[in-house]
Amino acid sequence: MIFGVPLQALLGQLLLGLINGAFYAMLSLGLALIFGLLNIINFTHGALYMAGAFAAWLVLTYLGIGYWGALLLAPLAVGLFGMLLERFLLSRLYKLDHLYGLLLTFGLALVIEGGFRQLYGVSGMPYPVPKELQGGWNLGVMYLPIYRGWVVVVSASVCLGTWLLVEKTKLGSYLRAATENRALVQAFGINVPMMVTLTFGFGVALAALAGVLAAPIYSVNPLMGSNLIIVVFAVVVIGGMGSMGGAIITSFALGLVEGLTKLLYPEAASTIIFLVMAVLLLVKPAGLFGKER
């Protein structure tokens, strides 16, 4: 017994927390990447996560392409869309205060969500768990649906891959440097606009991938991403801006903390992250893994 809770139940809850952390990780990674790049909170992130889930549903319903195809197609399509957004809209704002990017992405999020809502209503669409991943394992502490296990595996590997890409190649340096002084980085011979577009597309594709993963678990619904952004961004900040590893680790850790809260004081489950953030930022000014400038 810990906190008056049987150990069994506690373990089960922690496991669930970890699974939620996997979602946070996919979303926060993309968001962190984009924030690191453009210094704006990409408010379309939640909407594009939703768009990813919808893309999966659409290709299933209209083209008969199932989950596995969607896993590839949806991020590709949404990533491409993101690249268009960046090229034709966001890129016009780089000379202005970063805040205007916030206004733009917020407006876009409203339009995208509104559009899907007009077309498909708000109750959501059912999306089946792929046959290969149906069923579950009895772990003793709990019954774990295979699909949730799969989500953790995908998320962990995507996170690792992204982390390696950004931290272990020069891409990371270019991105960080370009945030500070675009003009100079470009004067070193790096095609910054192209790099920004591609990175933006990649970050958005990660959101869409998370959307596809979420589709069988949650209902595919135009509002599914609307409140997500603020929590996920909090995760990014707690991890430390500019630290991909930080975002990943924090995602999983906060998933656990949240899971524990759901058990002990469920009403506060959606507030706990902010409590953690306030306390942490007052103690560690640049988040867990961020560097102070």
């Binding site: 139940a9 209503g121 409140n227 058990l263």
Partner: protein, 378 residues
């Protein structure tokens, strides 16, 4: 300069826009058309607006309509906070409000008014109706997943009342933040409580996600059952029958109940891309036509006098048989206990419910004697 103007104030962009929203506007419009578009020679106009489920926006629009745009009655008013805000304004202005969307009991109790009506359902009826039926089938021990806001608390309280009155037991409950998307943790707690029934005291997407995930975690396969205390047909549509089959619920209307409902649903569907009306939307039709009838008979649009007339005449349409409005503003009509069909039983889209029982109005709704509405003479 005489005319009758009706406003439909509803959620058009938020979580309740499918169960009310544009469909409610359509229902109101059909009611007006069916009335011939005129009452005693006065043209009937319709306006509509989105309150985004926010009390302040609802209040602002209601005020503008009543004060400035000669709106005589406002219908739908889904979500309690919005209904409450409009109720305050309507009371002050002596104008009519026809609540079809919200479910909270105080609308006909502490907040009741002479010109305010609660039409389609309330938590007492849906939660109570479902809980009674579930208990009768042997679901005696309960665990609640409750959305942590007044509406959720109220749903839980209504169900608990019935459970306890029928000798059942409540093994626990968990209040989850509203809205939530992941319920696995709460479901696990419900599972380990060992309760036979998991009561969902929430609505809309919360309910949908909870049911979906209960399925995913094999909870329903392991002998526990889910009881949704407020489920709309749009929720079932979104869940799919595979997930929702066998669930019991209480509703104020089902489109495939009899000739009248089918006729209405067919016309409605033709204009709404084949969607079938929810109980809220059907209720909007019913409340608006009843209002128009009262205006016709009272020969005025003056709030109090129309309201009195509304109480006087019984309601008889496809929605309600011999419905009547009580002093506290409650429109009493029969409710239905339904079970969600299995996929094999369903003949096509929207063929979702088996009606198990008609719950007579006086049993379904809280007795007038228990009302705390000051208008009720005791």
């Amino acid at each position: 300069n005489h005319k009758v103007k009706i406003g439909v104030l509803t959620d058009m962009s938020g979580p309740y826009s499918d169960l009310a929203g544009q469909g409610s506007v359509m229902a109101a419009q059909m009611a007006i058309e069916d009335f011939g578009g005129k009452v005693n020679g006065w043209p009937v106009e319709l306006v509509s607006a989105d309150h985004q489920s926010k009390a302040d926006i609802a209040s602002a629009i209601a005020r503008k309509w009543y004060e400035n745009e000669e709106v005589d009655a406002i219908a739908d008013l889904v979500t309690t906070a919005a209904a409450r805000a409009v109720r305050e304004v309507a009371k002050e202005k002596g104008k009519v409000d026809l609540d079809s969307g919200p479910g909270s009991l105080p609308l006909t109790n502490d907040w009741c008014s002479a010109t305010g009506f609660h039409w389609t359902y309330d938590n007492y009826a849906t939660a109570g109706g479902t809980a009674t039926a579930v208990i009768k089938q042997g679901g005696t021990s309960w665990f609640f997943l409750t959305a942590d806001y007044a509406f959720g608390h109220d749903l839980q309280a209504q169900a608990e009342r019935v459970v306890k009155a029928n000798g059942g037991s409540v093994l626990g409950s968990v209040r989850h933040p509203f809205p939530s998307s992941d319920f696995s943790s709460f479901l696990l707690q419900a599972q380990s409580s060992g309760a036979k029934i998991i009561g969902l005291a929430n609505a809309g997407n919360d309910t949908i996600n909870a049911i979906k995930q209960a399925n995913e975690f094999g909870i329903t396969k392991n002998g526990q059952s889910i009881a949704g205390l407020l489920v709309f047909i749009t929720d079932v549509h979104s869940l799919g029958l595979e997930t929702a089959k066998g669930m019991l619920l209480t509703t104020g209307f089902y489109w495939d109940f009899d000739e009248g409902t089918r006729a209405f649903a067919k016309r409605f569907g033709a204009r709404m891309n084949g969607k079938m009306p929810t109980m809220v939307q059907a209720g909007v039709y019913s409340s608006v036509s009843h209002y128009l009838k009262a205006v016709q008979q009272a020969n005025t649009t003056e709030g109090i006098r129309v309201a009195d007339k509304m109480r006087e005449i019984p309601i008889n349409d496809f929605f309600a048989k011999n419905g009547k409005i009580r002093a506290d503003g409650r429109m009493v009509h029969d409710m239905y206990l339904a079970e969600v069909k299995a996929p094999a039983e369903s003949k096509g889209p929207w063929d979702y419910y088996k009606i198990l029982r008609t719950i007579p109005g006086d049993e379904a709704f809280r007795p007038l004697s228990e009302s705390t509405c000051p208008l009720v003479k005791k």
